[in-house]
């Protein structure tokens, strides 16, 4: 079943990518063509086939002591903030999260 404009609008909203009406049309065409390309995935009998999420077998989470800078690569505050578009003191600055009032310029 092909994706509709409304479906694509929902996906874009979920992905936090704003689309214009024209882009919505293009994206609809693209997604439907791309999904067609994926059909072979559904052509095999995959009963009892284990998935491989990584090409190198089991990976375990990396655990470490709860201490800063174990590997000497922690960023200082200034360094961490230098690529942000807007900062205040030691913090990243963002507009209102809930949308009550514009809190940022």
């Amino acid at each position: 079943m092909a994706l509709t404009r409304d479906d694509v609008r929902g996906i874009a909203s979920y992905a936090r990518i704003a689309l214009t009406e024209d882009e919505l049309d293009e994206m609809c065409t693209y997604l439907n063509a791309a999904i067609e390309l994926l059909a072979p995935i559904r052509a095999y009998d995959l009963t009892d086939v284990e998935p491989t999420f990584y090409p190198m077998g089991e990976l375990a989470n990396v655990m470490a002591a709860d201490e800063p800078d174990e590997y000497g690569c922690m960023l200082g505050v200034e360094e961490a903030l230098k690529n942000a578009a807007s900062t205040r003191g030691r913090a990243f600055r963002v507009p209102s999260i809930l949308g009550f009032k514009e809190g940022d310029g």
Binding site: A34, L38, I41, G105
Partner: protein, 501 residues
């Protein structure tokens, strides 16, 4: 310097600097001059870091003067794909999103090259966030193929491949998620290697598909690539990348040994695949004869599920990309669109205007495929198909030491000639499976196409963590190609020979 940079590979430069025939600063200056003379026509570089290059070269020379070890890559200029961090440079991923991003740390792969004595010359152009096969999706400039500037260099590491092919640098780093080192190497007539997943640390490389990405070198010869690999794995497992493995080894050892009796797997249906152009098919035939002349034995193999590799890739890749690129929200770094009242709105418009078309396409595809109800239809089965493809390879490698495959269906095409995303994706057919299975692979030039005059390459794939054996076969192929007069050794694209120093 007695010889121009055109005539020196990485191996010769490192040897010359170590012996004192010329200094690292002289070599860096020569490379800067060559870049100045050529890059206006190639546009391989987004950023040249002349000061950093000269500073690093001076340090190498000072080490030698003090009688210290200068490292196996002493004074060798190298270029870095612009998705790898290097303090003192921007890391843009060729995207408006990161246009002004200053690297806050240095990627392990770049650090290891510098620790081995190499000189970083600058950051190279790429498809935006590595999404593409032509480097045309860069937000900043169009990189041209040095063999014919009207044609694409391939992608996504097109800038790195073009810089090496034009003789601007003898070595460059790229990253390969579905062919992004091997295909541009093929299009630009240089050697490009994707090591086995885990061999090279990905720390400090902007992630695209975390289970697929692997860093590797470009060079004009197999020995230069092997030399760079030595540096990239030196020090073993990187504690900063949980997927890295200890594979410290000397890839140059036995590189020139005979391949007498080694078995090269060949899959007939791929070598005569309907998508292959006649000149590529001829080139592959030559490559097979050359390997036989070198003493290797061709054996028929099958990879029964390879046809599903593209589909598996275009599920796994976009899903991982969507997840990885979620970090670009315009808050901590990256483009931020002003004038929005809420964080959600600001994020959506920052991403809308920070990302180019293909980056948005891939992320939306990933977002869709990971949605509840869709996940079970595509994402999970794709990972099951990955198990089948990996098992195919394991069975094939029981019968052979490496597999020979095409690298790309055609030689480099003209700008704009392929624009339909689905057709572009289909051209990745021959490279994608080794990202899915994780084994190493390498693209080796085997001649110039009869019809287009553009470079044709063969691809060799080896078993997981047996890249050394694969390199030995690649060297035999290269040697045979030169002996048979199919292509000049370590060739620079003819129009760029002798320009600069």
């Amino acid at each position: 310097m007695m010889y121009g940079l055109d005539h020196l590979g990485a191996v010769q430069i490192a040897r010359g600097v170590a012996k004192g025939d010329f200094s690292a600063v002289e070599v860096a200056e020569a490379s800067l001059e060559v870049i100045e003379a050529k890059d206006g026509d190639v546009c391989a570089f987004l950023q040249v870091c002349a000061e950093l290059a000269l500073k690093t070269a001076r340090e190498t020379d000072a080490r030698r003067a003090a009688g210290k070890n200068v490292g196996p890559l002493a004074g060798v200029p190298f270029a870095i794909k612009d998705n790898m961090h290097l303090v003192g440079t921007r890391t843009t991923c060729a995207s408006r999103m990161l246009e002004h991003y200053e690297s806050t740390f240095t990627a392990t792969c770049v650090r290891r090259m510098i620790d081995a004595g190499a000189t970083p010359m600058g950051k190279t152009n790429m498809d935006e966030f590595a999404f593409g096969s032509t480097t045309e999706s860069s937000a900043f400039c169009k990189t041209r193929n040095p063999w014919d500037v009207e044609r694409v260099p391939g992608g996504s590491s097109g800038g790195s491949a073009a810089a090496v092919a034009a003789g601007e640098v003898p070595l460059a780093l790229g990253s390969d998620t579905g062919g992004s080192i091997r295909q541009p190497a093929c299009f630009c007539g240089v050697v490009g290697m994707k090591p086995t997943y885990g061999a090279v640390s990905r720390y400090g490389v902007v992630a695209f598909g975390s289970s697929l990405d692997q860093v590797g070198p470009f060079g004009r010869s197999v020995s230069d690539v092997a030399l760079a690999m030595n540096a990239l794995v030196a020090g073993g497992k990187d504690p900063l990348d949980a997927t890295s493995r200890d594979v410290e080894t000397n890839y140059l050892a036995g590189l020139d040994d005979s391949v007498e009796g080694m078995r090269v797997g060949i899959m007939g249906s791929l070598m005569t695949h309907q998508s292959l152009s006649p000149e590529v098919m001829l080139g592959l035939k030559d490559a097979c004869s050359v390997l036989e002349d070198q003493g290797a034995r061709l054996v028929e193999i099958e990879l029964p599920h390879i046809d599903s590799a593209i589909a598996a890739y275009y599920v796994i890749g976009p899903c991982e990309a969507f997840s990885n690129l979620a970090r670009f929200d315009g808050v901590r770094f990256g483009y931020r669109e002003p004038g929005h009242a809420t964080l959600a709105e600001q994020t959506a418009w920052s991403r809308a205007h920070g990302f180019g078309a293909e980056a948005k396409r891939r992320q939306l595809l990933g977002a869709y495929l990971l949605a509840s109800g869709v996940y079970d239809k595509y994402y999970y089965p794709a990972q099951q198909v990955r198990t089948l493809i990996t098992a195919d390879y394991q069975a094939a490698f029981d019968r052979c030491d490496a597999i020979i495959l095409p690298c790309a269906p055609t030689t480099a095409w003209r700008f704009g000639e392929v624009s339909d995303p689905a057709r572009m994706y289909a051209s990745d057919l021959f490279t994608i499976s080794s990202n899915i299975a994780g084994n190493g692979s390498i693209s080796v030039p085997v001649g110039l196409g009869r019809d287009t005059g553009m470079p044709v390459a063969a691809q060799l794939q080896g078993p997981t963590f047996q890249d050394q054996k694969m390199l030995r076969l690649a060297r035999a192929l290269e040697r045979g190609v030169h002996e048979a007069g199919l292509m000049k050794a370590a060739a620079i694209a003819p129009a760029f020979v002798g320009r600069g120093r």
